[in-house]
């Protein structure tokens, strides 16, 4: 159980989050929705205490995250940033192995290797295992980072636009893996995502962020409807159910 209570955050003097209240049950898949600059990334970073909220608190099973050490927090949260760059050469497998750091001081155990190779398989990365990450495509790199976060085996996975540079097959593969992880190992997923159709296929709970506040929070019917989408994204849409899922269809902007 994760609770965010009256959380506020500002960069210097620019307020980015005000009065955020969220409750998330274990093993839920939560989708953070909102337009560019709404504050999704900032909210994710506040949740795992990378950024210190200016007021309010984040509780894990009733305990304030401020009372945890960095090491303990790393066992609770793993985090995949929206963008990422590396200067020095590192192979895909070494990168994913870094996710096992809680278990590694110097020597890598057989168990660590087995777990990492299994994840490489799930993320379609086997053929790239010994390639330098700086020589990968954007989508390949994104999968490496998600793999690394999964290898961390934490209870809550925070993903900042995990599918933004993936092709359609990999979008489904990655989200299927994440969904499976959540169902089988009771892992909570909180991800920001711009593709509403993917969100509708995988999400259990939806949070819409607008103007530094939570605009709406709840299940699919309550949050992802034509009216909310119009108010948050300023676009016209049609929603139709096709093969068990609601699909959001865009209307082209009228020309002026």
């Amino acid at each position: 159980m994760l609770e965010v209570n009256d959380l506020c955050f500002s960069y210097k003097n620019k307020t980015v989050l005000t009065d955020i209240n969220i409750g998330i049950k274990n093993s839920e898949i939560v989708c953070l929705l909102g337009s560019n600059g709404a504050g999704k990334t900032t909210l994710l970073k506040c949740i795992n205490n990378i950024l210190k909220p200016s007021s309010g608190s984040v509780l894990i099973e009733g305990r304030d995250t401020n009372t945890y050490s960095r090491k303990e927090l790393a066992r609770i949260f793993s985090y995949v940033p929206q963008s990422y760059n590396t200067t020095f050469p590192i192979t895909v497998m070494d990168m994913v192995m870094l996710g096992r750091s809680f278990n590694i001081k110097f020597r890598v155990s057989e168990e660590d290797k087995d777990i990492v190779i299994k994840i490489l398989g799930d993320m379609n990365l086997i053929d790239l295992a010994f390639k330098d990450i700086n020589e990968l495509s954007g989508g390949e790199r994104q999968r490496v980072l998600i793999a690394k976060a999964i290898a961390q085996e934490s209870k809550i996975l925070l993903l900042d636009e995990p599918t933004s540079s993936l092709d359609m097959k990999n979008q489904l593969d990655v989200l299927n893996t994440i969904e499976k992880l959540s169902r089988e190992k009771d892992i909570t997923i909180i991800m920001s995502i711009h593709d509403l159709n993917l969100a509708l296929m995988y999400g259990d709970k939806f949070i819409m962020v607008k103007d530094s506040k939570i605009y709406d929070i709840g299940d699919m019917e309550k949050v992802v409807n034509v009216e909310n989408i119009k108010n948050v994204y300023e676009i016209e849409t049609i929603i139709r159910e096709v093969e068990d899922y609601n699909r959001v269809l865009l209307k082209k902007h009228a020309r002026d």
Partner: protein
């Protein structure tokens, strides 16, 4: 079809293949060191070198029939050869970790000002005679050391104001580097000719007149640093593989790690530079060559760049003192002549994908 076990095997092999070379290279370095000790105005045999070292340590060189030669070997050449290796190792591992904590492959003890600060301290002692031990070489050394530390503190303070990010360390380091260089130039500009040449010689970096005491001191400091860096090598992998936010989310405290690693690398650099003068290029080139061979894993990279640095500096100094003997060319000059072409060659080759 690649299987699970294929990958595991290859992963193990990659690491083992590179790790196994570390003791082999160290052995080769020892043999090379003995060979280099033989060379000089008086050429000697390997047996003489080994027996001079043994007798020297036992303290009974005086009783030996060839005590004059043995003394030359034990009191002049051996400390010099050892210092060449230790300085190469120390500057190279310091360069490696500095590059890691600043995430910048262009950083070395030289580029962030530590070396030029030491040069300033030494110049003050040589030209103005201002130091704790005026007129002695200890005065020069202590001045160099103190100003290297002051430089490090300045860089630390400024980058702390700028949030201790990699960019802030590099930026303040470069700025401070210019300041200290300007101050040194000013002093050299107003110095009289005799003192100028002494001050200049020091800024070239030279291993003339290295003593056993100095070797032992550098050995202790460099040894402690190696151990500390190796203990933290996995953490350095985390830190250098991505942004600070990701490091934090993996349980690392980036600021703390930067400071503690920084302290050891600055101490090592300061001690070496204060005895051997400014030897610039090595702290930049050795980590680069290391990375071309073993990649970015600091568990391997730190020992590899140390060994490469030891080789390079030993070869440079040996060339410097034998090529136009009895005149010795300062090692700081030779390392650039030797290192730059090697470096450029390797970079071109690796960009073409031949390495």
């Amino acid at each position: 079809m690649i299987t699970h076990n294929d990958i595991k095997k290859q992963y193990d092999n990659n690491f083992r293949k590179q790790a196994i070379f570390i003791p082999i290279l160290i052995l080769v370095l020892v043999v090379l060191a003995i060979y280099c000790t033989r060379l000089g105005t008086v050429n000697t045999s390997s047996r003489q070198v080994v027996s001079a070292v043994i007798n020297g340590i036992k303290g009974n060189i005086e009783d030996m029939p060839d005590s004059r030669n043995q003394k030359i070997i034990f009191l002049l050449r051996v400390p010099r050869v050892l210092m060449a290796i230790l300085a190469g190792v120390g500057l190279s591992i310091s360069g490696t970790v500095m590059q890691n904590i600043t995430k910048n492959p262009m950083v070395s003890p030289f580029t962030i000002g530590i070396s030029s600060a030491a040069a300033l301290g030494a110049s003050i002692a040589i030209v103005f005679g201002i130091s704790f031990f005026p007129g002695t070489s200890l005065g020069i050394v202590s001045n160099a050391f103190i100003s290297a530390i002051i430089c490090a503190i300045l860089v630390y303070k400024i980058s702390k104001i700028l949030t201790m990010s990699p960019e802030s360390i590099v930026l303040s380091g470069i700025a401070i580097n210019y300041l200290f260089s300007a101050l040194t130039s000013t002093i050299q500009f107003i110095a009289d000719e005799n003192k100028l040449s002494a001050a200049l010689r020091w800024t070239f970096g030279s291993l003339n007149g290295i003593t056993w005491d100095q070797v032992i001191m550098v050995f202790i400091v460099t040894g402690i640093s190696i151990v500390y860096f190796m203990i933290n090598s996995w953490k350095l992998n985390i830190l250098s593989s991505g942004g600070d936010e990701v490091s934090k989310s993996m349980g690392i405290n980036p600021e703390k790690l930067r400071v503690s690693i920084g302290v050891f690398s600055v101490l090592t650099t300061a001690v070496i530079v204060s005895f051997a003068g400014v030897i610039g290029f090595i702290g930049l080139v050795a980590p680069h060559i290391g990375r071309m061979i073993v990649g970015g894993d600091n568990r391997l990279l730190i020992p590899y760049s140390g060994i490469i640095g030891g080789f390079l500096l030993l070869l440079s100094d040996t060339i410097g003192r034998t090529i136009i003997a009895p005149v010795t060319i300062p090692v700081g000059i030779i390392i650039s002549y030797l290192g730059v072409p090697l470096f450029v060659h390797l970079i071109i080759k690796s960009k073409k994908g031949e390495i």
